[in-house]
């Protein structure tokens, strides 16, 4: 072991004040997050490494899940129910939606379990708690990337070339991450206080899926309910994300900027409120964990 001497440790001394902090609304402490960036990196790395350990199919699960969903949707909603798909072949129409939506729902369930699952760490050592729910939001990007490869294969199969709108895809992915972070922070801090969230998350994800334009196009809402409701519908950020994915990758319709705009507003609100609710409640996590 090294000689620990004071000369070697002439780093600036970090001052901390620990008090009750009742009813204090704060936003994220960026300086601290930067200090702990290595920890965040290892959290995400751990999640990715561990995810498919001790499975037979391993990383293939990241392919099998969305592909089977696509097959089921194509048979039931595409063939049997004959739901319109804006002129796009139904399999790729639904897959372009399954891709961001699966990421979204996996991040949410990962985040909502995260604090409860890590309670042994929470009660023993200090680090910014916010890293815990944000970890699944980033680690699920690995699955997203693998499923994305499938989409590329499918686009080659259907001979679809993306339009110039492809440049907006990173923006859509950012919106998708921001939304997941916002809701993830809300769900995780609610879940550690009220374990009801654990039971609700199952039907909530199917509710969220059927309310998003996964098996149907958003244009159907515009058709049936009119433009005002269509805009209101856009407040659900995944609506803009999914329709944006379809438009930028498959290019059958123009970019739905109205939906994306509405979605961005609520995503930012969700993120800010989620972060401050998390910050406000994090002081009791160790006591209720």
């Amino acid at each position: 072991m090294p000689e620990t001497n004071l000369i070697e440790r002439k780093k600036p001394i970090i001052k901390t004040r620990i008090e009750s902090g009742k009813r204090k609304w704060r936003i994220l402490d960026l300086k601290e997050l930067i200090y702990y960036k290595d920890l965040f990196y290892f959290f995400v790395l751990r999640d990715i490494t561990v995810m498919y350990k001790q499975t037979i199919l391993g990383i293939l699960w990241a392919v099998i899940n969305p592909v089977f969903q696509m097959v089921i949707f194509s048979v039931i909603f595409g063939k049997l129910a004959q739901i319109s798909s804006d002129g796009i072949p139904y399999p790729i129409f639904s897959f372009a939606a399954i891709l961001p939506f699966n990421y979204f729902s996996q991040s949410l369930s990962g985040a909502s379990n995260s604090l409860v699952g890590n309670s042994s760490v929470l009660t023993k050592v200090y680090f910014p708690r916010i890293l815990i729910p944000l970890t699944p939001v980033f680690s699920k990007l690995a699955d997203f990337a693998i499923a994305f490869l499938i989409l590329i294969v499918m686009m080659i199969f259907y001979q679809i070339t993306p339009t110039a709108n492809l440049v907006f895809l990173p923006l859509l992915i950012l919106l998708m991450i921001l939304t997941s972070m916002g809701i993830g922070m809300w769900l995780s801090s609610l879940a550690i206080q009220y374990r009801d969230v654990k039971f609700a998350i199952g039907f909530m994800t199917s509710l969220l899926m059927y309310s998003a334009p996964v098996v149907f196009p958003a244009s159907l809402i515009l058709e049936k309910f009119g433009y005002n409701y269509y805009l209101l519908y856009g407040l659900y950020p995944m609506v803009g994300v999914i329709e944006g994915f379809r438009s930028s990758l498959l290019g059958f319709s123009p970019m739905p900027w109205d939906l994306i705009g509405m979605g961005s507003i609520s995503a930012v609100l969700l993120f800010l409120s989620g972060a401050s609710y998390f910050k406000k409640t994090e002081r009791i996590f160790a006591d209720v964990a």
Partner: protein, 434 residues
């Protein structure tokens, strides 16, 4: 760095306990209560968040009450107290794991805690991956771990398995690796809680040495343990916690001996009023005590001590008295039988008090916990007048630090001091003699 490292100012911490369930007697009431169940539960859970800190709120348990102290850089402070005295809660507040209900704590510097080693170890990951994960959880940067990685692995002694999944490790290997990570932290403040009792004897010695090194390097240290000797050895100052309050504070020696005094009252000393004393129709117990004969509050291996028994004899006639006791260790091995019969002298009992002192010679006991499992009073070495079970329990404490790191507990039921005479003769000398 003349400033304090830790300042705890009037800290109190309350926990919510004992929310009573109201049981309904009627079917209607039961159904109604089911409907109201979610609402009631919500209120209960909500209270965890916003309970009222009224002093006489019965549902509140004050784990800490008005705690204040300061710790300077380079100082070592011991915190002692029984289970539930609030030691862990206090440490958790200093480590920022939980917030105080009232008051505040100020901490100048990075804090590392050996509260529970191995926090965040993931069974599926390899030793190497866990070193990085655990190290960053404890507040290190990747670069720091890179630099110290070899030292950590070296200290833990698991280099052969460093790329094996942790789930295939033995529990001892896991603990050693975890401790090695935690002990490599270089922070201004270090909090150590009961880690002195992990691993095998050799590793315990190694970790204690490391801890002494840390304490002497200018790091401010808070040490919490039930083992008094490291506290006496490492800490200049100590705090005694009792039911969430500071019961005593001052020089370690004084605090430890006052704590040991109240700790051991029931075990190393028993005394009874004559009316309530246990005994038989012939004999009543009055007092029994284990007394160290050196001027320290503990008995170390090799130290002399004595038993003192005081009994009251009710028999009118005089008789030949024999007192015998069985001394067992904590595993109920009989170490020896002590008896006045072995002295080849006769003790004639008369009505009234009889006091016996039995001196245990030096260099006999090894470290351990011992019990006088049987205490017998006999007439004419044959007729049992009274038998008392588990009369006294006492501890002979060994500690590496106290023995200046020379050795751990040497195996064996007893630890006698042997006299050796070793004669070495050179070849020529031997020849001459022949």
């Amino acid at each position: 760095m003349s400033e304090f490292a830790i300042k705890v100012n009037d800290v109190s911490k309350a926990f919510l306990i004992g929310l009573k369930d109201h049981k309904k007697e009627t079917l209607g009431g039961t159904i109604f209560s089911w409907l109201r169940y979610p609402l009631e539960n919500y209120n209960v859970l909500k209270k965890l968040n916003t309970y009222n800190y009224n002093e006489d709120n019965e549902d509140l348990f004050w784990a800490l009450k008005n705690i204040s102290f300061e710790l300077k850089h380079g100082e070592t402070l011991g915190i002692i107290g029984n289970n539930g005295a609030g030691k862990s809660t206090l440490l958790k507040i200093i480590c920022r794991i939980t917030n105080p209900t009232y008051g505040f704590a100020e901490v100048n510097g990075r804090v590392s805690s050996l509260l529970e080693v191995g926090t965040g170890f993931n069974a599926e990951l390899t030793g190497r991956e866990n070193v990085y994960l655990n190290g960053t959880i404890l507040g290190m940067k990747k670069k720091e771990i890179d630099k110290k990685f070899d030292e950590i692995v070296d200290f833990s002694g698991v280099e052969q398995f460093i790329d094996t999944q942790i789930k295939k490790y033995s529990s001892g290997m896991k603990i050693r690796l975890a401790f090695a990570v935690a002990a490599s932290l270089e922070t201004e403040i270090m909090i150590i809680d009961e880690v002195l009792s992990i691993g095998d004897a050799e590793f315990r010695k190694k970790s204690l040495e490391r801890m002494i090194e840390i304490a002497r390097s200018g790091t401010a240290v808070i040490l919490v343990t039930h083992n008094m000797l490291p506290i006496q050895n490492l800490c200049s100052r100590a705090i005694l916690l009792e039911k969430g309050r500071i019961a005593n504070e001052g020089i370690t020696e004084e605090i430890v001996s006052s704590y040991m005094g109240q700790q051991t009252k029931s075990k190393v000393k028993q005394s009874w009023e004559l009316g309530k004393a246990p005994g038989s129709e012939h004999i009543k117990m009055s007092k029994a005590e284990v007394r160290p004969l050196l001027n320290i509050p503990v008995i170390r291996p090799g130290d002399p001590f004595e038993f003192e028994f005081l009994i009251y004899n009710l028999k009118d006639e005089d008789y030949d008295l024999t007192i015998t006791f069985h001394l067992t260790d904590e595993f109920e091995n009989l170490l020896f039988i002590g008896s006045t019969a072995m002295t080849n002298r006769k003790y004639i009992a008369k009505k009234g008090f009889i006091k016996l002192n039995c001196r245990i010679p030096e260099n006999l006991f090894n470290a351990g916990k011992f019990t006088i499992s049987k205490f017998l009073v006999l007439q004419n070495s044959a007729k049992l007048l009274y038998e008392h079970k588990d009369l006294l329990t006492f501890e002979v404490t060994s500690d590496y630090a106290y023995e200046h790191g020379k050795s751990g507990r040497i195996e064996g039921l007893i630890k006698p001091k042997l006299e050796w005479e070793v004669t070495v003769k050179s070849e020529t000398e031997v020849l001459e003699k022949i």
